[in-house]
């Protein structure tokens, strides 16, 4: 992969922090980055790879930062991006928010991390759980003895250290599914998929051995056998702690969990999902006078379930004014800075239908600029329900001290990228 150097820049292109790993690319090359970016942006050719001479910049943007890797080789681009995102992930776990301020405030730790994450342009220790064992923010508060070798660096179970103790042993399991839907202006579903994940919050003492049981329908889908009634899952990822060999042989998900929060597995189901909240909209624009919006929302899920915190975001022209709303339930609010009407419904039972009407005035002088046609987006959360039907049958917790531990399970279905195109 070989990245020659890594830079963190602010929005103006000023270097906040950098690390020269290989020394084969002049560090001042970064000065070309910002002009290049601006130039490409102007020409509409913005691209995550930019080249100046024989130096390539591969960059990502995160909040108000640019993370840039330079190289002069034909290196593996997707690996470099994966590494840059790993950086973001590690920094975020350290500082909660990764932004200019947090880099400024913690630059000692950032230097330390950059040192450990990569050497000579090759990624080294990138697991933030391990890093957190020996690079701590408290280190800055001077504790001379805080430099003992973490056992995990060479430990067989690298993601968990020994000697963890809790008074009450519990593990929380969250099954979360996000629904991505794209619906055409004429109401046909263009694409839909489910991105699911099982998250753990482990508060268990010692080195517990866990076994997770899922319902058969899902298990068969996971292993790709019996393609009949099962849910076909693709892109299934397990946390490194899961013993893949056991999973492959007898389909048991067994593992020693990392302490605290972690994502045990994630999956994607590419199937035709019925949009859980269906939106029909009529947006009529009378140039120079007004816009009339009528939105009908329908809950297409079981009557027993309830969608919480539903937000329907309807785009309006940027020059609209004097909003008037009428809703059958919930609140509608105009957010002028985003050119949106946000219709909020606190609780939306399945099978119900609600209506919202909005009226906007338009100025008599028309806006010259062409306006984009953003889609209607919907946000929601349905607890105690999963679209795929995945279920946790059991969670067995075995530790040699033999303590009793309680597993807690929660299911949530929520909206992911949920877009419905309009015909205005």
């Amino acid at each position: 992969m070989s990245a020659s150097a890594i830079f963190v820049l602010d929005l103006k292109g000023k270097v906040l922090i950098c690390r020269n790993y290989k020394g084969d690319v002049d560090m001042s090359e970064i000065d070309h980055f910002m002009p290049l970016l601006m130039q490409h942006e102007e020409e509409g050719l913005l691209c995550p790879v930019m080249s100046h001479g024989n130096v390539h910049f591969m960059w990502i943007k995160h909040s108000n930062l640019y993370l840039v890797a330079t190289t002069n080789k034909n290196s593996n681009a997707s690996l470099v991006y994966a590494f840059l995102y790993k950086l973001v992930e590690v920094f975020t776990e350290y500082f909660k928010e990764l932004e200019e301020e947090s880099i400024q405030d913690n630059f000692v730790v950032v230097y330390e991390l950059l040192d450990e994450l990569m050497d000579f342009g090759f990624p080294q220790t990138t697991d933030s759980k391990i890093l957190q064992e020996y690079i701590t923010q408290e280190g800055a508060k001077l504790e001379v003895a805080k430099s003992k070798v973490p056992t995990t660096v060479t430990n067989a179970v690298s993601w968990r250290s020994e000697g963890i103790k809790y008074k009450k042993n519990e593990v929380f399991i969250d099954v979360i599914e996000s629904i991505n839907v794209l619906v055409n202006a004429n109401g046909s579903v263009m694409s839909s998929d489910i991105v699911g994940s099982i998250k753990l919050k482990t508060m268990l003492s010692g080195m517990p051995e866990l076994r997770l049981g899922l319902n058969d329908r899902v298990l068969f889908g996971l292993t790709g056998r019996d393609k009949g009634k099962t849910v076909m899952m693709e892109d299934v990822k397990f946390h490194q702690c899961v013993r893949l060999s056991r999973f492959e042989s007898d389909r048991t998900i067994s593992f020693i969990p990392p302490d605290g929060e972690s994502e045990l597995m994630s999956y994607r189901i590419n199937t035709h999902v019925k949009p859980l909240i269906w939106i029909e909209s009529i947006i009529e624009k009378f140039s120079h006078s007004r816009v009339e919006i009528m939105v009908k929302a329908k809950g297409q899920f079981k009557k027993q379930s309830v969608a919480n915190n539903v937000e329907v975001r309807v785009p309006v022209p940027s020059d609209a004014d004097s909003p008037k709303f009428k809703t059958s339930t919930g609140n509608a609010k105009y957010v002028p800075e985003k050119n949106l009407v946000v219709w909020t419904i606190k609780s939306f039972p399945g099978g119900k239908e609600f209506l919202m009407r909005a009226h906007f005035g338009l100025p008599s002088v028309e806006n010259e600029e062409a306006e984009s046609k953003p889609p209607i987006t919907v946000k929601f959360e349905i607890p105690y329900f999963t679209v795929s039907g995945i279920q946790v049958r059991y969670m067995k917790i075995i530790e040699k001290s033999g303590y009793q531990a309680l597993p807690w399970v929660r299911y949530i279905t929520q909206s992911g990228d949920y877009q419905l195109r309009t015909n205005v």
Binding site: G44, L45, Y111, P123, Q124, N180, S191
Partner: protein, 825 residues
């Protein structure tokens, strides 16, 4: 104000650092050093504090050590002498009982990048390789790579290399992977780590222990391995099968790369791997990070070159989301164009139509040109959409549509009627230069069918004084000339005015010269003018290349999973935008037509590969016409199927090797081997080679991709000589072109046998032989000049034997190859 207050800050920091009170209080000392680093990060030059910082290095506080090292590594190259002082501290740290301290010291020792310190570093590095803590070994291993990088010329001790090889069996997977990386770097000259069977199997077995970075590294290195038997190959493949569908796109891509390289001789396996990988690739296209998505789409484009139908059913995955950046949208549209088939064309066009009105003008224009590309296969539907878009009267849309229509008409002349109808009235909306140029071209070429053409031109001619663009003026001249040829009565007056203006008043030389050229051309008479200006209106052969055949996997396998497909994109994306070379090619400039009809020398222009092929084949026919004395004609019928070819070829080859070259005349067939020196042919694309060959009626049956060694082409043709009055004397020639890279000497020997054979032929042969000798002499000269040049071995097989025809055929073949070769030079 970092830069202004710089000096003052440095002075203050120095005072603080050398203050004994600060030095005695660890917390204050560390905070001062923190300040130094902070100032350094802000861009202030704090190199003046080097000696103070060197002193600060001797501390038990690890964090302070790290900070000081950051400083030292940044400024060491400026202070090589003072850096020597640090080495002692660092070497002492290497003995520290704490492995963290040891690895830290070792890492920074090698990060100083000072050649003068190498001698002090080697000993601790050697010790580090044997350290009991894995984290120290990791650093030490890479340290050797850094050392080598520092002095690439100096040899690394063979003992160290051996030790690194043995560390490939280290229990720590990161040490193992770092060893690979270090050896790759150190043995770069020798082609990297030696990948033999035991190492390969060891690496494969430990692959599961590595993290994704390690897996990618191992998989990349293993690409060089060539399994010794088919069984071994399949064992490896089945071992890696689970990684092929890995959810981590980089691992999946690396595995696919490995699959493609080890199974390069088994296309069926490559194809199966490509099919298997399509699922994860599609998943990567929906990845959360836009950069990963971009990389995935770019790689899918590569795949589609070889397996065009691969993702046909999944076309919906390439529909663009609203918030996706333009660069992804553009790539996705390019993919959509590739995926079009009868079932999905309606859906895809519908979707693309939606993008045409995108606020981002680049996206809109890319969508319009994508529709134009689809129009080459589904012209009616596309033209309907394009015509509809003209109704929007948006200048950037109209411009893109007109350009797209021009390009479409150039490859699909059957569209011209609809286009002519649609063009009426769109000149009012057109603003930009490219759009107006496209309109002018269409008006000139199809003027007789567009009723308003003269009026449109007249408005432009009247405003020519205020016209700033050179391109518009040139295009206007050509269009008016062309229109004059088909509608003289309406155009004569305005043409006169335009020529007058351009010759008398125009300041730009190009425009004036072109006007003068046309003026003089008109003097030559209307027929001549017509001949020059009304060349071909379209080139349907380009359309054929659009629905191009599947390219072999090996053509792109080498750049799979690197940076190249992504940055290639910028070039490709540009070509999809306005002022692209592609348009230069499709845009039939008048001078391109000239070269067709007047067969004048080549005009230096930007050509795409395909056009190049057409061009060079044109010229090769010219050369051939003069070079062939006896009337020999080649024909492709009856066709020879690849199976027949293979059968015949193997049969005769066996015959040849069995009997030897001397005895071959006993049978009624001929076998010769010849060496032709035209190295650049290797760099010709298969398409251009095929096109050129077909032009002289030689059919190529199979070829390896360009730049591949050994490079082979199989071909056949039927010769026919009708100079004798009796029944035409037909023979079938099968041939192989071969460039193996080291074939030079061998070919030379073979040439000798070919000559003796020719001698036996008698009088007729002698003449030819002289000719051949002359060629050979010439070749020898060039051989002396450029020894590294490769020869192409030509092996020909003829039945029934007709030596004269064979010789003539060889001349034709040589000419074609030479032409192609010189074209490439």
């Amino acid at each position: 104000m970092p830069y202004l207050g710089g000096e003052e800050t440095v002075r203050e920091l120095r005072r603080a650092l050398s203050n004994p009170n600060v030095q005695s209080d660890p917390l204050r000392y560390r905070n001062t050093i923190l300040k130094v680093i902070r100032t350094m990060s802000q861009g202030v030059d704090v190199s003046g504090l080097f000696s103070e910082m060197v002193k600060a290095c001797a501390t038990v506080d690890v964090v302070q050590k790290k900070l000081v090292y950051v400083f030292l590594c940044s400024y060491a190259t400026l202070n090589p002498e003072l850096s020597l002082l640090v080495i002692n501290t660092l070497r002492k740290d290497c003995q520290d009982p704490n492995p963290m301290v040891r690895s830290l010291a070792l890492r920074n020792m090698t990060n100083l990048r000072l050649p003068s310190l190498v001698e002090y570093v080697e000993q601790p590095l050697t010790a580090g390789l044997r350290d009991r803590a894995a984290c120290v070994r990791r650093v030490a291993v890479l340290g050797w790579a850094k050392l080598h990088n520092l002095q690439p010329s100096s040899e690394i001790d063979a003992a160290v290399v051996n030790e690194l090889y043995s560390l490939l069996r280290d229990p720590d997977p990161v040490v193992m992977v770092n060893c690979l990386r270090a050896l790759e770097e150190i043995l770069k000259e020798e082609g990297g780590v030696a990948i033999n069977k035991p190492i390969t199997h060891h690496l494969l077995n430990r692959l599961k222990e590595c993290d994704i970075w390690g897996q990618c590294e191992v998989l990349r290195v293993l690409q060089r391995y060539r399994p010794q038997s088919e069984d071994e190959l399949f064992d490896i493949l089945s071992l890696l099968d689970s990684l092929l569908v890995s959810p981590h796109p980089p691992v999946m891509a690396a595995t696919l790369s490995l699959f493609l390289s080890v199974s390069s001789s088994l296309p069926a396996i490559s194809l199966a791997a490509l099919e298997r990988v399509s699922g994860p690739l599609l998943a990567a296209c929906g990845s959360g990070s836009r950069e990963m998505r971009f990389a995935a789409v770019c790689h899918i484009q590569l795949l589609l070159r070889s397996v065009p139908g691969l993702l046909g059913p999944h076309y919906k995955r390439f529909f663009c989301g609203y918030a996706e950046p333009a660069y992804i949208k553009e790539r996705k549209m390019q993919v959509l164009v590739e995926l079009v088939n009868d079932e999905n064309v309606a859906m895809i066009l519908d979707e693309l139509k939606g993008y045409c009105t995108d606020v981002n003008t680049d996206t809109a224009q890319a969508a319009i040109s994508a529709i134009g590309h689809i129009g080459r296969s589904y012209s009616d539907r596309c033209l309907q959409i394009l015509t509809g878009l003209l109704g929007l009267k948006q200048d950037h849309i109209t411009s893109a549509v007109v350009q797209t229509m021009r390009d479409l008409v150039w490859v699909c002349p059957q569209c011209s009627d609809t286009v002519c109808l649609a063009l009426e009235g769109c000149e009012e909306t057109l603003q930009d230069i490219q759009g107006r140029q496209a309109l002018l071209w269409l008006l000139g070429v199809y003027g007789e069918r567009i009723s308003s053409a003269p009026y449109t031109l007249e408005v432009l001619i009247d405003g020519v004084r205020s016209e700033a663009s050179l391109g518009i003026k040139m295009e206007l001249l050509t269009a008016t000339m062309r229109l004059f040829l088909c509608r003289p009565a309406e155009t004569q007056d305005m043409l006169g005015r335009l020529l007058h203006y351009c010759i008398e008043e125009e300041t730009d030389m190009c425009v004036r010269d072109q006007a003068l050229l046309y003026y003089r051309l008109l003097h030559c008479g209307i027929e001549k003018t017509r001949e020059v200006l009304q060349g071909r209106r379209s080139d349907p052969s380009l359309g054929v290349l659009i629905g191009r055949p599947a390219k072999p996997v090996s053509q792109w396998a080498c750049c799979f999973n690197t940076l190249e497909p992504l940055s290639q994109g910028t070039v490709e994306a540009e070509s999809a935008s306005r002022e692209s070379p592609e348009h230069m090619t499709y845009n039939p400039k008048p001078n391109a037509d000239l070269s067709d009809t007047l067969s004048c020398s080549h005009i230096e222009e930007v050509h795409s590969g395909s056009d190049n092929a057409m061009r060079c084949s044109d010229s090769s026919t010219d050369v051939l016409a003069s070079s062939i004395a006896a009337p020999l004609s080649l024909s492709l019928s009856p066709a020879v199927s690849p199976e027949d070819f293979e059968h015949l070829w193997l049969q005769r080859q066996a015959l040849h090797t069995e009997r030897g070259a001397e005895k071959i005349e006993e049978v009624d067939c001929a076998w010769i081997e010849e060496c032709v020196r035209c190295p650049a042919v290797l760099h010709c694309s298969p398409q251009s080679l095929q096109a050129a060959m077909q032009l002289v009626n030689i059919q190529t049956l199979a070829f390896t991709p360009q730049h591949m060694l050994p490079w082979r082409v199989y071909l056949y043709t039927h010769t026919q000589r009708s100079h004798s009055m009796d029944a035409p004397n037909t023979t079938l020639i099968l041939g192989e072109l071969l460039c193996s890279g080291e074939a030079n000497q061998k070919a030379g020997v073979k040439k000798g046998t070919a000559y003796s054979e020719a001698e036996a032929e008698g009088k007729e042969g002698q003449l030819v032989r002289k000719e051949m000798d002359a060629t050979a002499d010439r070749l020898r000269v060039s051989e002396d000049r450029q020894e590294e040049e490769e020869g192409i071995k030509v092996i020909l097989n003829q039945q029934p034997k007709d030596d004269d025809a064979l010789r003539q055929f060889l001349t034709i073949l040589t000419t074609v190859l030479n032409t192609l070769s010189s074209e490439k030079d």
